[in-house]
Each structure stands twice: as structure tokens, then as C-alpha cells.
């Protein structure tokens, strides 16, 4: 059975070219980039090259790239640094639909005496810019708002939000983990101060991330140690993964157009195919402002975990915002913030594609999913009631 992998917002396959680039640095070229000898020096050169490749994808300066261990570390670093360099300011602005890397951190800071404003979203998942504007106060140390949502793919107007923050002298961070590699990012024409990205979301390995910090932004390191990353992040460089990420960023730049044409078309085909074949379902999120690879569809009267397990029988990988799969008893905080009714939220499925997704895979899902939904609806006490009402 072939795996139909449509869960690329969770993680992606490591690109073969990335594997090829990094494996020698796990094997024969194991030197420490900080060493004085040329055996380490050759690794140092590759790390520098990777830094340039990452910078090129973001249209940033290589010096503005700090390698970290993951997106979460980048997020924590940005938030905690901003608070550290803004003594006296005790307020953070974020959104209601952040990834736990930001959400849980802000909740913790809220308990430690900071005040946190979570800007709401509308029913299509768009950030409420009026509320956002009202949230910016003289006491605000930092704004951290995601660029695109991991569950719905909805893109936020971060440039506009960053400009508003800048006017008030507030630091602006964005979690762009789902964005980088999917839509163009140009830091030279941006006023965003800090940006997080994660390697494994763009076909590099897990365990490598980046925090972009604009030149001149006050910064306080999170991991204290050696002089690596110019003293901004201690710890021996994860050279193989850094080299892999460099290659992945180079590929992402080359694939950007494919992502926004072929991948988008496949996503639209999947979405339209399912909406046509299955009654009582709907797309969550603003269809006009979304990542090209993501769709989040709610199937009314059924629960997401059952859908995923039945899809799994056919090797189809997706994810759900239902309570049973979220590890809590409540459905996804993103869908709840959008006011998606419970009947819809429990039955939501996210499909996220990549440049490796094929049309055959999309066809498999369009063929297999409708009978799965029908089967679960036949088990559901609400489905019968619903039909009785309709008659």
C-alpha cells in the first residue's frame, strides 16, 4: 500500500537533495565548525554557505540568521528576548489562534505577571485588525502574531500589523513556520523585527530552526554558552542539519512557483472534489487568503478521529481538529476562536500538500473519503435525526 501523505503542515519528507547534502556531514566530515584546524574549517565553510542560502530565501542578510534547534526555540527566544530588552513594559499582544509554541508561552507569562491581549479572529479566521490596533499600548513590549495559521492556512496581514507596531515603538515577531517556502518572504522590504522558521516544515530534517533577527534589533540570547551564532545562541552548531536546511531553502526558492501553481491547483481539486461528493461539509478559513497547500474541511455529524483511522486503512495521512485527536477534551482552539459550531469542529480534517504530492494521491482521497463519511454518518445518532428533519 502506498502512503498518501497529506499532512505536510505536521512535517514534511526530507528532500532527496537535502539528504545527499547533509549525510557526508554526519559521516566523514564530522569536524566542529569552531575548530582551528582545516578539518573543522571545511564544515564551518558549509555552515556559512547554508546561512547564505537561508538568507537568500528570506531576502535577508546572513548575519540576521540565527540557527536554533526548532521553531519552538525560535519563538521562545524571540518572546523572552523582547521582554528582557524592554524593561518596565509588561504587556504582550498575540492572537487567539497561535500555535502552542506561542500560545502556551504567553499563557505562562500571563501567570507570571505579564498581561496578554489575544486578538480575536472572525468566522473566516481573519485577524481583527481593529482590535489589534486597540491592543497596542505604551506598555506593550512585543507583538507576536503568526504569519499563516497551521490549521486553516489563513494568512494574516503581518506587514500591516508590523507597521502599526513599529509606529508605536513595539517589537514585532512573527511565527512563520508554516509560511516560509510556501509564499514569498522578503525581509528587505519588511518592517518585521523577528521571524521564526522550522526546518522540517520545508523538507529539511527535524531538530533545526531559524530565528531571523533584523540588524539593529535589541536582542538577548536564550541559550547562554559559547560564541556560536555570534554569541546569540550558545551550543555547538548542528552542522549536518544546518547544511540540510540550507539546501532545503535553496530548493524552496526554486519550487515557490510550483507551490503556488501546481500545488494550489491540486489543493483546489481536492477541496472541490470533496465538497461536491459529500453533502453537509464546508471549508474552514478564508478561501481567498490561504496558503496554497492547506485545506481544512468540516464534515458535519461525524467525529474526526474515526475519519482519520479509516483513512489510515488506505494509507492516507491527514490530521483533525477534533477533541479526540487534540489531546484534550475540547476541539481545536483555532476553530473555536472562529466560532465554528461544535457539530462542525469535531468533524474537521486538515489536508496539507507539498510539492511531492501527485494528482493520483488526490484522486485516491476523492475516491476513498466519501464512503468513509457515509459509513460514519450511518453510525451517528445525529445523522438520522437530521434526515428526519429534512424530510
Amino acid at each position: 500500500m502506498n502512503t498518501v501523505y497529506l499532512d505536510n503542515n505536521a512535517t514534511t519528507r526530507v528532500a532527496p537533495e537535502v539528504m545527499e547534502a547533509l549525510v557526508p556531514y554526519l559521516g566523514e566530515y564530522y569536524g566542529n565548525p569552531s575548530s582551528m584546524h582545516s578539518f573543522g574549517g571545511q564544515v564551518s565553510r558549509k555552515v556559512r554557505e547554508a546561512r547564505e542560502q537561508v538568507a537568500a530565501l528570506l531576502n535577508a542578510e546572513p548575519d540576521e540568521i540565527i540557527f536554533t534547534s526548532c521553531g519552538t526555540e525560535s519563538d521562545s527566544t524571540a518572546v523572552l528576548s523582547s521582554l528582557k530588552v524592554s524593561p518596565g513594559k509588561r504587556h504582550i499582544v498575540t492572537s487567539r489562534v497561535e500555535h502552542p509554541a506561542i500560545k502556551a508561552l504567553c499563557e505562562r507569562l500571563g501567570k507570571e505577571g505579564y498581561s496578554v491581549t489575544e486578538v480575536p479572529v472572525d468566522s473566516e479566521g481573519n485577524l481583527d485588525m481593529d482590535e489589534y490596533g486597540k491592543g497596542l499600548t505604551p506598555d506593550t513590549a512585543l507583538v507576536s502574531v503568526m504569519w499563516a495559521n497551521n490549521e486553516t492556512g489563513v494568512i494574516f496581514p503581518v506587514e500591516q500589523a508590523a507597521a502599526m507596531a513599529k509606529k508605536k515603538g513595539i517589537l514585532f515577531h512573527t511565527d512563520a513556520v508554516q509560511t516560509v517556502g510556501k509564499i514569498p518572504v522578503n525581509m528587505k522590504e519588511s518592517v518585521i523585527d523577528m521571524l521564526s522558521l522550522s526546518g522540517h516544515k520545508l523538507h529539511a530534517p527535524k531538530g533545526i530552526g531559524v530565528l531571523y533577527v533584523r540588524k539593529g534589533t535589541p536582542f538577548y540570547p536564550f541559550l547562554i554558552g559559547g560564541h556560536q551564532e555570534k554569541g546569540r545562541r550558545g551550543g555547538t552548531e548542528n552542522a549536518p542539519s544546518i547544511i540540510g536546511l540550507g539546501k532545503a531553502c535553496e530548493l524552496a526558492g526554486q519550487n515557490m512557483e510550483t507551490e503556488n501553481t501546481r500545488v494550489r491547483d491540486l489543493r483546489d481539486k481536492l477541496e472541490n472534489g470533496l465538497l461536491k461528493a459529500i453533502p453537509f461539509c464546508r471549508v474552514n478559513g478564508n478561501r481567498g487568503a490561504r496558503l496554497p497547500n492547506t485545506t481544512n474541511i468540516s464534515f458535519e455529524f461525524v467525529e474526526g478521529e474515526g475519519i482519520l483511522l479509516l483513512l489510515d486503512q488506505f494509507g492516507i495521512c491527514a490530521s483533525s481538529g477534533s477533541a479526540c485527536t487534540s489531546g484534550s477534551l475540547q476541539p481545536s482552539h483555532v476553530l473555536r476562536a472562529m466560532g465554528v459550531p461544535f457539530t462542525m469542529a469535531h468533524g474537521s480534517i486538515r489536508f496539507s500538500l507539498s510539492v511531492y504530492t501527485t494528482e493520483e494521491e488526490i484522486d485516491v482521497v476523492i475516491e476513498k473519503l466519501p464512503p468513509i463519511i457515509e459509513r460514519l454518518r450511518d453510525l451517528s445518532p445525529y445523522w438520522g435525526q437530521h434526515r428526519a428533519c429534512a424530510v
Binding site: 478521529e305 474515526g306 483511522l309 477534533s322 479526540c324 477534551l329 453510525l379 445525529y382 438520522g384
Partner: protein, 278 residues
């Protein structure tokens, strides 16, 4: 991904007895779509009053579907008395176990069974005095008590896994903790039948108030005096004397000899009555 047993997976993929019985003898619907779990269970009895047929419909995850399917298989052929003895453990055991976080699926099955039998017998579905503890999921004190008792739960987290109570806003965690304490105290009492149940503070105050109203004040008033309950601190019952009692030289005797001994007799032997300092 959840670690489901093969039996759970098998019952999820091939659920038994799906549907609704026409003209059932007993039927019940528990859970709700908002909670993410709902189960409609119905049964029919044969001429010997044994469950001949049981069917279900479930909105919920794989383990909810498997638990309901298992329930219909377990109860077939049982008398209602036998069926009432089926616990959520039995359902979980039938499936070779459920992940701890999914135990509430088996509790849902047990509840549906119980309520469908109540429905057949025409008994009250909601016990009098039952109180909603968890507002988010609509879970009552009786449901929590039962899960704590039958599964020997000791933490709020376990109660959430088994009943969902406390899994939303978390405002009811203190109440759940109080129920766990109460049930475990009762369980100890069952183990040592001589011991009296440990009273919660609230219960103690209520009982003291009742005894004061019913037994003590009328007889003091008879003598032109009165008494008022000021506070209960642990086992110390603080009171204030009024009327004739307030100026009576013998009021200490009354307090210790009459009030305290009545309270000790009727409520708890360790109570101490004290007069409010003036």
C-alpha cells in the same frame, strides 16, 4: 496516535449491532455533540425478560464506537439485574483495555445502559438532589462519584479521563477534589465499619444548623433564652448566647452539658462548643 488494542480496532472497523430498535423496551441517549461523544442505546427483552436485542448509534471517536459495540455484545442474554451490574471496567476489559484518556468512552456506555433500564422501568432519570459539577460537559456529582468509586480514582486528571468532568475550563477542579475526598472517606468507612463518615466542612455546618434549629433553640427559647451559630472552625462550634442565656450564670453548663452533648450525639463525637468571645 492512540494505542488501541486489536479488539478495539476490530470493533471500530466492524461494529456490531448498529442501529435503532423499533419499539424498544428501553432506550437512552447520553452525551452530546458539543462534548464530542454521544451514544443512543436501545434494547428489547424476550419473554423471559432477558435482553434479546441491543443496538446503538454513536457520534464519537474510534474507542467510543468500539465501547458501544462491545456493550451491545456484553448485555445480550442478560437479565436487567445482571445488566445493571455491568461496569465501565467490564466494557474496557472486554476490549482488552482502553487508553486511560479514553476511559470516558466506556463510562458513556455504562451510563447509556443504566439510563435505558431506568427508561424501561419508568424510574426517574435524574436522581433527586443531583448537582451539575462540570458545567462545560454537564457532568453531575453522582456520575463523578460513581466513576471514582468503581474505578478507585484518586486524582482530578483521572476523573477527567473517565468522565470528562474538569476537561474544559477547569473551574470545577476543587469540587471534583472534594468528591474524591468524600468518596475515599466513605470507602475507608466501608473498610472499617465502626468509623463514622468524615464530614465535609459544608456538610458539618449544615448538620449543626439543622440540629440547632430542630433540637436546641426550641428548648432554650422555652426558658426565655436563645443561641446563635457564629462559626464552625474545624471541630470547634462557635456560638453566641442571647436573651436570658446571655446573663445566666449557668450558661456554660448549658453550653457544655446540653448543646455540646446533643451535637456530639447527633453529629460527631469530636465537636467542641465554645462561646463567642465578647
Amino acid at each position: 496516535m492512540w494505542e488501541y488494542t486489536d479488539k478495539v480496532k476490530e470493533h471500530f472497523l466492524n461494529p456490531r449491532n448498529v442501529g435503532e430498535i423499533e419499539n424498544p423496551d428501553g432506550v437512552a441517549e447520553v452525551g452530546s455533540i458539543a462534548c464530542g461523544d454521544a451514544l443512543k442505546f436501545s434494547f428489547k427483552l424476550d419473554e423471559n425478560k432477558r435482553i434479546q436485542e441491543a443496538k446503538f448509534k454513536t457520534f464519537g471517536c474510534a474507542s467510543a464506537i468500539a465501547s458501544a459495540s462491545a456493550l451491545t455484545e456484553i448485555v445480550k442474554g442478560m437479565t436487567l439485574e445482571e445488566a445493571l451490574r455491568v461496569t465501565n471496567r467490564d466494557i474496557a476489559d472486554y476490549l482488552g483495555g482502553l487508553p486511560e484518556e479514553k476511559m470516558h468512552c466506556s463510562v458513556l456506555g455504562q451510563e447509556a445502559l443504566e439510563k435505558s433500564i431506568e427508561n424501561y422501568r419508568g424510574a426517574a432519570v435524574k436522581a433527586p438532589g443531583e448537582e451539575i459539577i462540570c458545567e462545560c460537559f454537564g457532568i453531575t456529582d453522582r456520575e463523578i462519584e460513581r466513576a471514582v468509586r468503581e474505578n478507585r480514582l484518586t486524582t482530578v486528571e483521572q476523573v477527567t479521563n473517565y468522565t470528562k468532568a474538569g476537561g474544559g475550563c477547569g473551574n470545577c477542579h476543587d469540587k471534583i477534589r472534594a468528591i474524591i475526598e468524600r468518596v475515599s472517606a466513605t470507602a475507608q468507612q466501608v473498610a472499617e465499619p465502626a468509623a463514622r463518615p468524615k464530614l465535609s466542612n459544608l456538610k458539618k455546618i449544615k448538620l449543626i444548623e439543622e440540629v440547632m434549629e430542630r433540637e436546641i433553640r426550641p428548648s432554650l427559647r422555652h426558658d426565655g433564652g436563645d443561641i446563635e451559630l457564629i462559626d464552625v472552625i474545624g471541630d470547634r462550634v462557635i456560638v453566641a448566647t442571647r436573651g436570658a442565656c446571655a446573663s445566666c450564670q449557668a450558661s456554660q453548663v448549658t453550653l457544655k452539658g446540653f448543646v455540646e452533648s446533643r451535637l456530639r450525639e447527633l453529629i460527631a463525637p469530636e465537636l467542641i462548643v465554645e462561646e463567642e468571645p465578647r
